[in-house]
């Protein structure tokens, strides 16, 4: 273990690990420094400069997300000058995009909005001139409104560094700069695999989930953490629901294992089946072979099954009954299923499709 370094942040002596950035050292102490382009687990690029701090003897303000601490460094994060600089940066971002929250799906979960609130900005100082891009709406999963893009590059880094799908990049320069797949293609025509990481990391309303549009504002949604129902990775997901419908699915970032907040297309966009009209809603019984199903009450169905299974067992013995358990049901249910066949029926004829 390397030796700790001591620095002073806002007059407070702070002990930190060598190699830590000013931002990390400060946040470890619970000191608030605003950020926008910074995203944990991706490289720090210092693009937005919202995280500027004063460092004694430095020639200019320092982007704290990129600047490593050095022994004895004296840092100030909340001076009026710093706050003014941050306000200026945020106001410039605001004026160069279309940031009216009234018509933005991200209202309530927008980091730019949070900063405007936190820095108590009342009105924009600069005239608003947004680039007037057309909307990109050619797929059913992800919507892009580049007029709300602040070019923080989080989506690009998420695509390349977190998911390593290597689809998104910056194109053009200066005021024409934009982010997207190669050749300015729409997502649907690109190599995009719709993991949705770009939308999950977007701090504003530039990249949003299309099916969540008008399905509920962030503060109206209930959040339930659960485990994904697809492959064996067991990704931790947050289901956002409203009125008994899933509005969107996000990777759970609170706890690292196993997916560290990332998802794939199935976990993210594959949950429609739950509220599909094809869902079974009542027990169905076919009283005689060849007849149609009839809806039945639970008690009726239980009685029917019990009676028939008992008859088979009586006539042919317990080993004439078999059960297929499910690799998609919970542990508790698998446990009960085999307990049922072994304990209640008396056979070991229980298997599931693990082999398949």
């Amino acid at each position: 273990m390397d030796k700790k370094i001591t620095v002073t942040i806002d007059g407070q002596e702070v002990s930190a690990d060598p190699g830590q950035t000013i931002l990390e050292a400060a946040r470890n102490q619970g000191i608030y420094i605003p950020t926008l382009c910074h995203y944990s687990r991706t490289t720090n690029v210092g693009a937005c400069r919202v995280c500027v701090v004063e460092v004694e003897n430095a020639r200019s303000y320092v982007a704290s997300c990129c600047a490593p601490i050095t022994p004895g460094m004296v840092i100030r994060t909340n001076t009026p000058a710093i706050r003014a600089a941050q306000r200026m940066i945020v106001e410039l971002m605001w004026s160069s995009g279309d940031h009216n929250c009234l018509t933005c799906e991200q209202n309530g979960a927008c980091e730019l909005q949070d900063l405007v609130y936190r820095l108590q900005i009342d009105k924009p100082r600069f005239p608003i001139e947004h680039p007037a891009y057309g909307p990109d709406s050619t797929n059913t999963m992800i919507t892009r409104d580049l007029n709300k893009c602040i070019l923080c590059g989080r989506c690009v880094r998420a695509c390349n560094e977190i998911q390593v799908n290597e689809v998104l990049d910056f194109a053009n320069r200066g005021s024409y700069a934009k982010v997207g797949p190669a050749f300015d293609a729409d997502y649907i025509d690109s190599a995009c695999v719709f993991c949705g990481e770009c939308a999950q990391v977007c701090p504003t309303g530039a990249i949003t989930f299309k099916q969540a549009k008008f399905a509920g504002r962030p503060w109206e949604l209930a959040k339930t953490r659960t485990t994904c129902a697809y492959c064996g990775v067991g990704c931790q997901i947050d289901l956002y629901t409203k009125d008994n419908k899933i509005v969107k699915v996000m990777g759970n970032r609170e706890y690292g294992q196993p997916n560290e907040g990332s998802l794939c297309v199935k976990g993210r966009f594959g949950m429609d089946f739950i509220s599909h009209p094809d869902r079974l809603t009542k027990p169905l019984i076919r009283r005689r072979k060849g007849e149609d199903f009839q809806e039945a009450a639970w008690d009726e169905a239980y009685a029917f099954i019990a009676e028939r299974l008992a008859a088979v067992k009586k006539e042919y013995g317990p080993d004439s009954i078999a059960g297929l358990s499910s690799a998609r049901c919970t542990n508790e249910e698998n446990y009960l299923f085999q307990k049922f066949l072994r304990g209640a029926i008396g056979t070991n004829n229980v298997d599931h499709c693990a082999r398949l």
Partner: protein, 540 residues
């Protein structure tokens, strides 16, 4: 399958190491796993390891999957020649003295027999069997042996063969040979295909074992469970899935209770399966949709989807994690456990549980590896079994210092060709699997807008050379026929599969590929050979 192969070798069948370790190890050998499509989030970690952490990657796969792009070496073997390839790798490693002699001496047995057999599999001999160039094989062997920590990941490409158990054992042989089992960042890591395959096995949904792999044939074990469950239990191991189907056909099994499975789309040789199921006197299906199987049932019971109930899943790295209720179920649907309790009660065997949590509490008492796992502890992070006590932190990787069975067992294995290989009549080799956008028999994903938009139908992957020869254009309907049946689907011309091989997925009931597949089973794991059968291909 994995259970059969790895349990024989190490003493327990599961991913030995953790997903997280993949990103920080020195080398990953990926074989028979199209990770980026089937386990995208693990795929992401493999790619990050390569791109960001300098990890070496060896891919052994007949198809040019996405990971090939990231690989240092790609060995493209002919389907069904895995044992030969692994023997070849070991041949080089032993011949060049690159193996971990101390580890082999101290922690394993059966090395001499292994050495004897692999001696025959020189790179040149292997090239003949598998088509992998001898030089590439040597390079791969040296790269693998040179890594301080190497992790093998595999999936159905290894297991779904008549030699599936041998294939699994071969991966274990290689890993032990280089001392890679029982260390962080190493191991043999089967990536389980479904969300709770691991848990279903752990919970004893297997014909020969109770929860935590305790054999039904063992008298002490059985007595313990008889006491716990207050019931007389059968000492005779039951039938496996494919055997159950056969027994249904022969009239030995009269009643079948299916919970959340759709064998009528997932099992090989579907026409045959259908005939077998029709012979049943009683079939009960419990599911969330009226699946192909449910349509044949006598009773269909509506179940809750995962977001409508409480419970736990165990993921591929043995991590037990919570499932939570976010939605109310539609209509009168009930959680599967409630339904089981309902039926059991009517049969005079009351199972009065008020919640999944209560069931879990019972599981803990009879399942030593789960004894320390409580819902309270699962509130935040999951726990990896074995977790024998409530103060135990869970187990990140298995076989540290000692294998479950004591010494690791090398198994000397010979190459056995697949059960059915292309011939003049059926000149193409068909391999099956999943695609990124869908899951299993498609009951879930074909009802989701996004995935359907990206992948609306089944496609037959055909190499351009073959397509040209047969005069098939991209998007054209083709007919694929095997000795068991035929299906039609659109052609997708791609170099992903080698010439002479085609690839199809089994997600769509419009093109049920399992009409074609061969129900030949691995003799131990009883797994069908989904990955190789012989077909013919023509424009429809």
């Amino acid at each position: 399958m994995t259970v059969a192969g790895l349990a024989a070798t190490f003493g327990s069948g599961a991913m030995t190491n953790s997903i997280d370790e993949l990103e920080y190890t020195d080398l990953i050998l990926a074989t028979g796993t199209n990770t980026t499509e089937n386990h995208p989030v693990i795929g992401m970690k493999v790619k990050r390891a390569v791109r960001q952490h300098g990890t070496k990657l060896i891919v052994i796969d007949p198809r040019e999957i996405d990971l090939v792009k990231y690989a240092d070496i790609w060995l493209r073997q002919k389907p069904g020649t895995d044992v030969a390839v692994f023997n070849g790798l070991m041949n080089v490693i032993i011949a060049e003295g690159l193996y971990d002699k101390e580890y082999v001496a101290g922690r394993t047995e059966g090395f001499e027999a292994l050495k004897e057999v692999v001696a025959k599999y020189t790179p040149e001999a292997v090239e003949k069997i598998s088509g992998v160039p001898a030089e590439d094989l040597k390079k791969a062997a040296r790269l693998y042996a040179g890594a301080a920590r190497a992790s093998i990941i595999y999936a159905m490409g290894i297991t779904q063969h008549t030699t599936g158990t041998d294939n699994v054992k071969s991966t274990a042989n290689l890993a032990m040979l280089c001392g890679n089992v029982g260390i962080e960042g190493g191991g043999v890591n089967p990536l389980r295909g479904q969300n709770n395959v691991q848990g279903a096995c752990d919970m004893g949904a297997l014909p020969n074992v109770y929860p935590a792999y305790q054999p039904v044939a063992n008298d002490d074990v059985r007595k313990k469970f008889e006491a716990a469950w207050k019931a007389a239990l059968s000492a005779k191991p039951g039938l496996t899935l494919m055997e159950i189907m056969a027994a249904a056909g022969s009239g030995k099994v009269k009643a079948l209770y299916v919970m959340g499975e759709n064998p009528l789309l997932s099992d090989p040789d579907l026409q045959h399966v259908k005939k077998e199921l029709q012979k049943l006197e009683l079939m009960i299906v419990q599911d969330i949709f009226l699946t192909e199987t449910a349509q044949m049932a006598d009773v269909v019971l509506p179940a809750c989807a995962f977001a409508e109930k409480e419970g736990t899943f165990t993921n591929t790295e043995r991590r037990v994690q919570r499932v939570r209720k976010a939605l109310e179920p539609p209509g009168e649907a009930k959680a599967d456990w409630e339904i089981i309790c309902g039926i059991s009660g009517k049969m005079g065997y009351p199972m009065a549980y008020a919640s999944a949590r209560e069931i879990c509490e019972e599981v803990r008492t009879v399942t030593p590896s789960y004894a320390g796992i409580t819902y309270e502890r699962l509130e935040k992070e999951g726990l990896q079994w074995p977790c024998p006590t409530v103060s135990h932190a869970g187990t990140k990787f298995l076989h540290k210092d000692k294998f479950s069975r004591g010494l690791g067992l090398f198994t000397a294995l010979e190459h056995i060709p697949p059960n059915e290989l292309p011939d003049q009549e059926y000149p193409f080799l068909l391999s099956t699997g999943r695609v990124l956008y869908h899951y299993h028999t498609g009951t879930m994903t074909t009802r989701a807008r996004g995935p359907v938009e990206r992948c609306p139908e089944s496609l037959v992957e055909i190499h351009p050379e073959d397509a040209e020869r047969l005069g098939i254009a991209d998007g054209q309907k083709v007919k694929v026929t095997s000795r068991r049946g035929k299906v039609e689907a659109k052609a997708h011309i791609t170099e992903k599969s080698a010439p002479g091989s085609i690839f199809m997925n089994f997600h769509f009931n419009e093109a049920p590929v399992n009409f074609l597949t061969n129900p030949a089973l691995d003799p131990i794991g009883k797994i069908p050979e989904y990955k190789v059968c012989a077909v013919k291909l023509e424009a429809a």
